[in-house]
Amino acid sequence: MNASDTDEDSYNERTALVPSENPEVQSYSPDADHTPPDSTPSKKPQVTRRAGPAAADGVGGGGGGSSDQEADAEDEELTLKYGAKHVIMLFIPVTLCMVVVVATIKSVSFYSEKTDQRLIYTPFSENTSSVGRRLLNSVLNTIIMISVIVVMTILLVVLYKYRCYRFIQGWLILSSLMLLFWFSFMYLGEVFKTYNLAVDYPTVGVIIWNFGAVGMICIHWKGPLQLQQAYLILISALMALVFIKYLPEWSAWVILGAISVYDLVAVLSPKGPLRMLVETAQERNEPIFPALIYSSAMMWTVGMASPMDAQRSGQETDEEADQRSQGAEPEIRPSRSFPEDDLEEDRGVKLGLGDFIFYSVLVGKAAATGGDWNTTLACFVAILIGLCLTLLLLAIFKRALPALPISIAFGLVFYFSTDFLVQPFMDNLAAHQFYI
C-alpha cells in the first residue's frame, strides 16, 4: 500500500505538535515574581496566564503583594501534589495506547508480517545484500522522512501564523476522516480475518459508520471528555500500527532517534517551528487544535455542567465561581474573582498525539521484532520513566517541553541492551536450569 498524502499529513501534524505541553501548566506554582507580565499574580496555583485577565480585579488585587514565604512553601507542596497527579493522568492514556498496540501486534499477525511494501516516504529497500548498504538505506530513508516532517511542520506553523484557520481545519478533518474510517476499516478487517469470522458488509458498514461519525464529532466538536480521550488514544494506536507495519526495520529505529533530536530542536530552539506555534497560540490566547493534542482536562466551559473540570479561560466571561460566591448574579462582567473553593479545579496536562504515536511505535516494534516479553516490558518501563522525568522537568521549567527525547532515548537504550544482553542471558539461564 502506498499511503496517500493525507495519511502522511496526519502523521506529520501530530508530530508537529509532538512536544507541546501547554505552557499553561506553568500556573502550577506561581511565584509572584515569576508570573508573566500579562497575568495577575495570585495565590491560587490554578490561575493561569490565560485566566489572568479575567482575574484582574479579583483575587489579584489582594494576592498580588502576597508572595510570602508561607505561600511559597504551600505552593511547593501543591506543585508536588499536582505534579504527581498529572503524571498519573498521563501514565494511563500512554499505557492504554501501548497496550492496544502490543495486544494487536501479538494477536493479529498482519501487523508484524514482513512485507516489501513501503510508504512512499521510505523508498529505499532494506532487502539488500550487505549490512553497510542496509545501513545506508535506512539513513537515507530517515533523511527523507525527517525532511518531509520538517516541511510539513513549517507549513503548519506558517498557516497558523497567517491565520489560515479554515485550511488547517480542513486538513485536520481530512486526516482524521482517513484515520477514523479507512484505517479502522482495515484494522477491523484484519482482526476478523485473524479470528476467522464471517462478517458481512452491511454490519461492517454500520460499525465503521458509527465509530467514525462519533469520532469526528467527539474530536472536532464537543463530546464527553473521556470519549474524546478514548478516540484520541485509538487513533494514535491505529497510526502507530501503520508505522509498525510499513516502516522497514532499521529505518524505524533510526527514524525514532532522529525524530527525538528534531523534537528537541524544534521545541527548545528560539526559532523552532513548534516553539513558535505554541507561543503564537499563547499570544492569541487560543487553544491549540484539539485534534492534535491529548488533554487530560476539559478545554471549553460553554455548556459544560461540571464546574470542577472547567478551565477558566480568559475569553470565558461567565464564571460559576462568581455565582457560587456571590449568589444570584445576572450580569456578565469580564473580571471575576476566584473564590477560595476553587482549589479543586484542574487544568490538566497536555501531550501531543505524536508522542503517543512514537512511544507506541517503539514498544510495538519491540514486541514485533523481539517477539519477546522481556524486551517489550523493558521498553514500556523505560518510556514511562522518561515520561515521568519529562513531567518533572515541566514542573520545574514551566514551559513547553519536548516529550520525545528522554523517553525515546531510554526506550532505545533499553531495547537494544535487553535484546542483545539480557535476553540471551535469561535464555541461557533457563536452558541450563540455573536459578539466581
Binding site: 476478523f192 454490519t203 460559576e320
Partner: protein, 66 residues
C-alpha cells in the same frame, strides 16, 4: 450560556428537552439492536447456503469447511 445562571424553570425545561432526546436515543438503540441481531443471525446461519450472494455480501470469508 452558563448552566448555573439559568432560572429554575428554564433549567427544568432544558432537562425535559434533553430527557426526551435521551428517550428517543434509547428507543433508537433498542430498534437498532433488534434489527442488527436479526440480520446477523440470518446472515451467519444462511451464509453458506446462499452461495455466491453470500460471498458477495461478505467482508471477510473464513477459511475451512462451514
Amino acid at each position: 450560556m452558563n448552566l448555573e445562571r439559568l432560572p429554575n424553570e428554564e433549567k427544568l425545561s432544558l432537562c425535559r428537552k434533553y430527557y426526551l432526546d435521551v428517550k428517543r436515543s434509547a428507543l433508537g438503540l433498542l430498534l437498532w439492536t433488534a434489527v442488527l441481531t436479526t440480520w446477523i443471525t440470518i446472515f451467519q446461519h444462511f451464509r453458506a447456503e446462499w452461495g455466491e450472494v453470500g460471498d458477495y455480501l461478505s467482508f471477510t470469508i473464513p477459511l475451512g469447511i462451514p
